[in-house]
Symmetry: C2
Subunit: 233 residues, 2 copies
C-alpha cells in the first residue's frame, strides 16, 4: 500500500465541534444574562446539516455553502425562541464553526504525517471556513480542498473525484481518514484507501453512531497519532 496523500474529514474527525460551540453559545447567553438549554439548541442547529446538503446534492436547491445553511438555520432557531441577535452576532456565532478545538492527538499527528505525505482536509465546510479553522486550530495543511471545490457535498462522488483531479493522483494512492463510516464507504467505492478514526465523544455523552467499523477499512486506529504510527511515520 503506497499512500501519497491523506484527505481528512475535519468536523468530528479532527476537531471537537460540539464542546467548542457549546462554549460559544454559553458565552453568547452569558453576555445577555440569558439562561438557555444550549445543548438542545446546538443539537437542533446541527440537525440542519444533512438535509441542507442533500437538497444541494439532489439539485433541489442551488449551490449554497454550509455556512449559509447554518446561518439561515441559526437565525430561525433564535427567532423561534425570541432571542434577539444582530446580523453581526449571528455572523459571529455562525463563524464559531471556524473556531473549533482540535482533539488532543490531531495537531501532533498531522505534523508527523506531513513529513511523508501530502495532507489536506476533504470537508463539507466552506473553503474560507476551512482556511480560518486551520489558522485557529493550527492544522498544518499542505493545501485545502472542500465541497466548495466541487460544488457538491460528501458523499457525492464529485467531491472525492475533484480531490483526485487537483492532486493528480489515482484513488489507490490516496487515503480518506474519517470518523464516519458513510464517508469511508463513498471513498472506498471509488477506489480510495480508507482509515477509520472513531470519535466516540463527537456527539457528547449520548453518542451512539459510528462507534465501530461498519466496513473493511484499510486502517482502524483511535487517533491521528495512531494513524501516523500505522503508516510507518
Amino acid at each position: 500500500m503506497r499512500v501519497e496523500a491523506l484527505l481528512f474529514d475535519t468536523y468530528g474527525t479532527l476537531v471537537d465541534w460540539r464542546s467548542s460551540l457549546l462554549d460559544e453559545l454559553a458565552a453568547f447567553g452569558r453576555a445577555r444574562g440569558l439562561r438557555h438549554d444550549w445543548t438542545a439548541f446546538l443539537a437542533e442547529w446541527k440537525a440542519c446539516y444533512r438535509p441542507g446538503m442533500d437538497a444541494v446534492n439532489r439539485g433541489e436547491t442551488a449551490w449554497t455553502t454550509i455556512e449559509a445553511i447554518y446561518r439561515t438555520r441559526l437565525a430561525e432557531l433564535l427567532r423561534a425562541r425570541a432571542i434577539a441577535a444582530s446580523p453581526e452576532e449571528i455572523d459571529h456565532l455562525t463563524q464559531g464553526w471556524w473556531r473549533l478545538r482540535p482533539w488532543p492527538d490531531t495537531v501532533t499527528g498531522l505534523a508527523r504525517l506531513k513529513n511523508r505525505h501530502v495532507i489536506s482536509p476533504l470537508s463539507n465546510a466552506s473553503f474560507v471556513g476551512m482556511v480560518h479553522l486551520a489558522k485557529f486550530a493550527g492544522l498544518p495543511w499542505d493545501c485545502v480542498i472542500t465541497a466548495v471545490n466541487a460544488r457538491r457535498y460528501k458523499p457525492h462522488p464529485d467531491v472525492y473525484r475533484t480531490a483526485l483531479a487537483l492532486l493528480g493522483l489515482p484513488a489507490e494512492r490516496v487515503m480518506l481518514v474519517a470518523a464516519h463510516n458513510y464517508d469511508l464507504d463513498a471513498a472506498q467505492t471509488l477506489g480510495f484507501r480508507t482509515a477509520f478514526v472513531p470519535r466516540p465523544l463527537e456527539y457528547g455523552p449520548g453518542h451512539t453512531t459510528d462507534l465501530v467499523a461498519e466496513g473493511k477499512w484499510d486502517v482502524v486506529v483511535d487517533s491521528v497519532e495512531g494513524l501516523a504510527a500505522a503508516l510507518g511515520g
Copy 2:
C-alpha cells in the same frame, strides 16, 4: 487599506526557477556525459509557457495543465537535439518545476505575513505542482489556489474571480503580489490591491522586462520581507 488575504504569483516572484532548472538540466547532462548549452535550452523550453496558456484562454485547446504543456515541449526539444530520454526522465525533468529554490527573503517574509493575513499562491502552475513546490521550498501557505481551480490561466479574469469566491472576500480586501506588471494590471482592473516586487534576476543577466512599476500599484517593494514591513507586520 484593509488587506485580509494576500495572493502571490509564484514562479519568478517567490522562487528562482531559472537557476534551479539550469542546475537540474546540467545534472541531467552530466549523468550522460553530455555537453550542451542548457541556458539556451531552458530559454526555448520556457518560451512555450505563454503561447500554450493563451491557446487555452482563447478556447482553441482544451484545458491542459502547465505541466502537460511543459512536458510536451521538453520532449520536442530533446528529440530535436537527438538527446535520448526515457519517459521517466522526462517526467523527472518536468517536475523540476516543483523543485525550485525560493529567493532569500521569501520564506521569512511569508512567515511574517501569515501571522496577520491569509496567504495563498495564485499561480498558473498546476495545483499538485504548487503543493509539491511548497513542501520542497518551505512555503507556509494557508491554502493553495491555482489556474487549475478556474481551468483558465492568468491574466484571464476567471482565475482572480475564482480566488475571491473561494476566499469569500471582496476584491478590495485582497492583494495580489507579483513581479510581473501584466498580472497586477489584470488584478487591479478587477478591484484588487496590488504589490509589485520586481525580481531583476528572474531571467538572468540579460533580464530586461518588469524592472519598474508600469502602473499605479499600491505597494512597490524589493522583497517579501519589505512587503511585510509595508503592511505593518
